[in-house]
């Protein structure tokens, strides 16, 4: 598996919906096209909601991983 280069990281631990998506979207808007954002969340519903909303806006969800410590990592590439 090729290593994906992360261009920016966003820590939204402590945030709940809809702010998990709101802050992720704001971060993506400030990035260039095709750049990759890694999002760290401790709010499990965000692992469904954030990727779904990202895909709906045309971005590529690369991975959703359970870190097994009450935190999750979502990796998205900006369209």
């Amino acid at each position: 598996m090729t290593e994906i280069q992360i261009d920016q990281e966003l820590d939204i631990r402590g945030e709940v919906c809809p702010f998990t998506f709101v802050k992720s979207k704001l971060a993506l808007e400030s990035m260039d096209s095709a750049k990759v954002l890694r999002i760290i969340t401790d709010y499990e519903p965000a692992t469904d909601n954030v990727p779904r909303s990202m895909q709906a806006e045309g971005h590529e969800v690369i991975s959703i991983a359970d870190n097994n410590d009450g935190e999750w990592t979502i990796v998205v590439r900006k369209k």
Partner: protein, 269 residues
Amino acid sequence: MNLTEEQIQRYSRHIILPQVGGIGQQKLMDAKVLLIGAGGLGSPAALYLAAAGIGKIGIVDFDKVDISNLQRQIAHGNEDIGRWKTESAKNTINGMNPDVEVVEYRVPINAENAMDIVSQYDVVVDGTDNFPSRYLMNDVTVWLDKPLVYGSIFQFDGQISVFKKGDGPCYRCLYPFPPPPGSVPSCHEAGVIGVLPGIVGSIQAAEAIKIVLGIGDPLIGRLMIFEALEMKFHEMKIRKNPECPVCGDSPTITEPIDYEEFCGVQVGV
């Protein structure tokens, strides 16, 4: 783009929208919208524009709040009776959203001040109830190339359109000159169901917001007619009139005009 944590929370339902986002919210916060009138139409328009985070809202009104206004002019309350409408509206707006800069113009809009005031804004929302102001705003926004969001109400019926030079007709393309005074019911004779300006003014706010964001299809070249009793919206196409005295091929009106003061709406297009 530098939204504060509080702004992110406040505008989160905008930011979530694919058509808005943080970029669109910033456009709203940078926008300057002028309201002509803080009455029936101006009240809901002012409140929704302020809630949306429009950066600067200018309000032109030379009236004071009267108890008979409160049946429909929701920017004002009982304790505002006797205050300037601009002051009362500013107070209501900033109570809801302190980020909005409200500029009060406690003057009658006229041929002398209209160009100067309008030139400082991006979009004009016409909430006047009288012909002189309506014609003046039409002419001035044509000359200054500013989009004009038109609304008017009469009893149970409302009209809404957007006039934008180059893209569609203006108000004078529809009605080249005001009707003679006395030929239409005056504001004092014409009743209005209180919720009607709430609907029409809210549609005007929606159009102003879309124009600022550059999204969707504004009511350019379309006159929307709302009938509350039947609860129906109709729409008619309106075309640019090559003989229009202001935006036509050989304009005959080239300077602001102060028509004799009277009010009402023109019906039957």
